[in-house]
């Protein structure tokens, strides 16, 4: 067979031309971490300016560029590529496939990304400055009043959208066509299930994002009036189209997290996952509901009362399948033989903190209350709880869980626990006070604020620094784990389950050349 005839190629060519899912997964993860550091530096500029009231370090115009770039880089550059990286590494291993279904396209979908983000980040050095209209780029701020760098932003979004769609097609083709014999859909690991559903969301909404930025491009350069009232268009239309993409997008970032947690908890609770079938249906329900709730982001645009009520109740409905998941996780741990290795710490922290983010989400879902919360720091607190303590924590959870399988070495348990605790303290210190200043009326996206918010903002900034610098521990732990350490067994964890633990550690360059038989 051709499968085991060679290892990786030598030199840079290995990475440029590789079609190996493990290489591509690794590149995605390193790219994502790089973007995470870049986006984190933007966040630290924001928090430095907000350390005290008044304008100290940056001009308001530059502050706006920082909030915009922080959001764009973290959403599209850090969280999403991290999930694609984990999908590349783990899906073939978990379903017993030799590689992804479309390896050449896989290479392409990765290598588009560095160019997309180079184009986006390069605008910081242009005369016009980077995009400054917020990551939600509402028209007409992003059309009639945009800096000229908006065109770079639009092409950047087009490129990352293409990359995501190709990645999603690849995941769907892999899962549908390349499962090992005997692995029926209802035997697939939860991470594979959640990624399959995520891939459908990506295919459904990334083209809509491409459409909305294309409309912006036409309004800016070709005299159309999609979003210009003067020519018969409507700026509110932008918000509808954007959030039709934007709401499923938040589930694109969190559904794979549900999958990772559902893999990790049973291992460290030494019990099978409670309610597998209900987990699958809950995930699918959340994905479906995500398409009919988008206008809860825009309760204040002047919707009729019937619209407000519909979107309010539909949004609250999402709490039901999400609750099913949380209760299933808690029940999985109930009376289990728990041990608290780093992945488990991240998983438990995820459940607690993500649920807090879910509760603040329910508060925001109430249309009459949303008029008070809209565009305040309460919203910022909410989405950081679900995206940092939610998505990011579960990415760390997954990385620590599978790192010994990737490198063949155990990571340093002491240092990784230090990373966990410092991050845990840092993010809560950074984001919990934001609830209070938001409820008290501090608006988001401003470089200065009223004096009564000073103490909480200082705490947030200190938390942001603690979080930011703790991530260097993670970098050190990973590099040390790649270079050496206690050898990992094939199973790695005492109660690990699934096909990925049946291959040696480190996972050989080619695995499952002969498909395993699943009972």
């Amino acid at each position: 067979m051709a499968a085991d005839h060679h290892g990786p190629a030598k030199g840079i060519g290995r990475w440029l031309f590789t079609t190996n899912h493990k290489d591509i997964g690794t590149m995605y993860l390193w790219f994502s971490f790089t973007m995470f550091i870049v986006g984190g530096l933007f966040a630290l500029v924001i928090r430095t300016e907000l350390f005290q009231p008044g304008l100290q370090f940056v001009k308001p115009e530059f502050f706006n560029q920082m909030t915009t770039m922080h959001g764009l880089v973290m959403v599209f550059g850090a969280i999403m590529p991290a999930w694609v990286g984990l999908a590349n590494w783990m899906i073939p291993l978990m379903i017993g496939a030799p590689d992804m279904a479309l390896p050449r396209m896989n290479n392409w979908s990765f290598w588009i990304l560095p160019f997309a983000f180079a184009m986006l980040v390069a605008t910081l050095f242009s005369e016009a400055g980077a995009p400054n209209f917020g990551w939600t780029f509402y028209a007409p701020l992003s059309t009639a009043y945009a800096p000229s760098s908006v065109t770079f932003f639009i092409f950047g979004v087009h490129l990352m959208g293409m990359s995501s769609i190709m990645g999603a097609i690849n995941v769907i083709a892999t899962i549908i066509n390349m499962r090992a014999p005997g692995m029926t859909y209802m035997k697939m690991p939860m991470f594979v299930w959640t990624w399959l559903i995520t891939a459908f969301l990506l295919i459904a909404v990334m083209p809509v994002l491409a459409g909305v930025v294309t409309m912006m491009l036409f309004d800016i350069h070709f005299g159309t009036s999609f979003f210009s009232a003067a020519g018969g268009g409507d700026p509110v239309l932008f918000q509808h189209v954007f959030w039709f993409f934007g709401h499923p997008e938040v589930y694109i970032m969190i559904l794979p997290a549900f999958g990772v947690i559902s893999e990790v908890l049973p291992t460290f609770a030494r019990k099978p996952l409670f309610g597998y079938t209900s987990m699958v249906y809950a995930t699918a329900s959340i994905a479906f509901l995500s398409f009919i709730v988008w206008a809860h982001h825009m309760f204040t645009v002047g919707m009729p009362i019937a619209g407000e009520l519909f979107f309010m109740y539909a949004t609250m409905l999402i709490a039901v399948p999400t609750g099913v998941k949380v209760f299933n996780w808690v029940t999985t741990m109930f009376r289990g033989s728990l041990s608290f290795e780093t992945p488990m710490l991240f998983a438990i922290a995820f459940i607690v903190l993500f649920t807090i983010g879910g509760f603040s989400g329910i508060m925001l879902a109430m249309a009459p209350l949303d008029f008070q919360y809209h565009d305040t720091y309460f919203v910022v607190a909410h989405f950081h709880y679900v995206l940092v303590q939610g998505a990011l924590f579960s990415i760390y959870c997954g990385v620590y869980y599978w790192l010994p399988k990737w490198t063949g070495h155990m990571y340093d348990e002491t240092l990784s626990k230090a990373h966990f605790w410092l991050t845990f303290i840092g993010v809560n210190l950074a984001f919990f006070p934001m609830h209070f200043v938001g409820l008290a009326g501090m608006p988001r996206r401003i470089p200065d604020y009223a004096l009564q918010f000073a103490d909480f903002n200082m705490l947030s900034s200190i938390g942001a620094y603690v979080t930011g610098f703790s991530q260097l521990i993670f970098l050190y732990v990973v590099i040390r784990c790649i270079r050496g350490g206690r050898p990992a067994t094939d199973r790695v964890w005492e109660a690990s389950h699934g096909l990925e633990w049946s291959v040696p550690s480190p996972a050989p360059y080619h695995t499952f050349a002969i498909p395993p038989q699943v009972r």
Binding site: A168, I203, D234
Partner: protein
């Protein structure tokens, strides 16, 4: 002989779905207007006079109609309603004027875009003559009184006692020149 590649149909339908969703994004533009009309969410973008009577004149009922005139962005024109409020009977035809003056040292063209609040009242607010149906071109220093004729429909829901008609004036000089 090789078995047919199972990935081929998968790739075809996923690509087709992506292309269809790109199209759907654009279809949202006309769909948005249609849905607003169907659900009676009155976006007041009617660009032609309504040829409809407002029903029997209801002299027993009085509705306040307030007028707001706003300039968009850098539009330099003076723009204000002749009267800020009218008290009208549903079903009756009413008239007022808006005053504009172009203080800029060049000829400019303007387009007024109306909006009715509360949105629920928009389907009951019939403009029979409006300067917003066309554009206005004024030379430097020229001024103009622009007419508005409207009927508040007698079927206006009882709970609505005040209607606000707001105009935003846009500078469309460049847009007209490009045409």
């Amino acid at each position: 002989m090789r078995a047919p590649d199972p990935n081929r149909p998968t790739v075809l339908w996923t690509c087709a779905a992506a292309v269809a969703m790109f199209g759907f994004g654009f279809a949202l533009v006309p769909l948005y207007d249609v849905l607003c009309d169907v659900m009676g969410i009155g976006r007041d973008t009617i660009t032609a006079p309504v040829d409809r009577s407002g029903g029997e004149i209801d002299a027993a009922r009085t509705v306040r109609v307030q007028f707001v005139a706003t300039n968009d962005g850098t539009m330099p024109w003076e723009f204000r309603p002749e009267r800020f409020e009218l008290r009208v009977h549903p079903g009756a035809s009413n008239g007022t004027r808006f005053h504009v003056r172009n203080p800029a040292p060049r000829t400019m063209t303007a387009q007024a875009i109306p909006s009715v609040s509360p949105a629920e009242a928009a389907p009951y607010f019939h403009k029979t003559e409006c300067f917003c149906f066309g554009q206005q071109t004024l030379g430097s220093g020229e001024s103009l009184d622009m007419p508005l004729q409207f009927i508040v429909d007698a079927a206006l829901p009882e709970k609505i006692s005040t209607i606000t008609l707001s105009y935003t004036l846009f500078d469309v000089t460049a847009r007209v020149a490009a045409r």
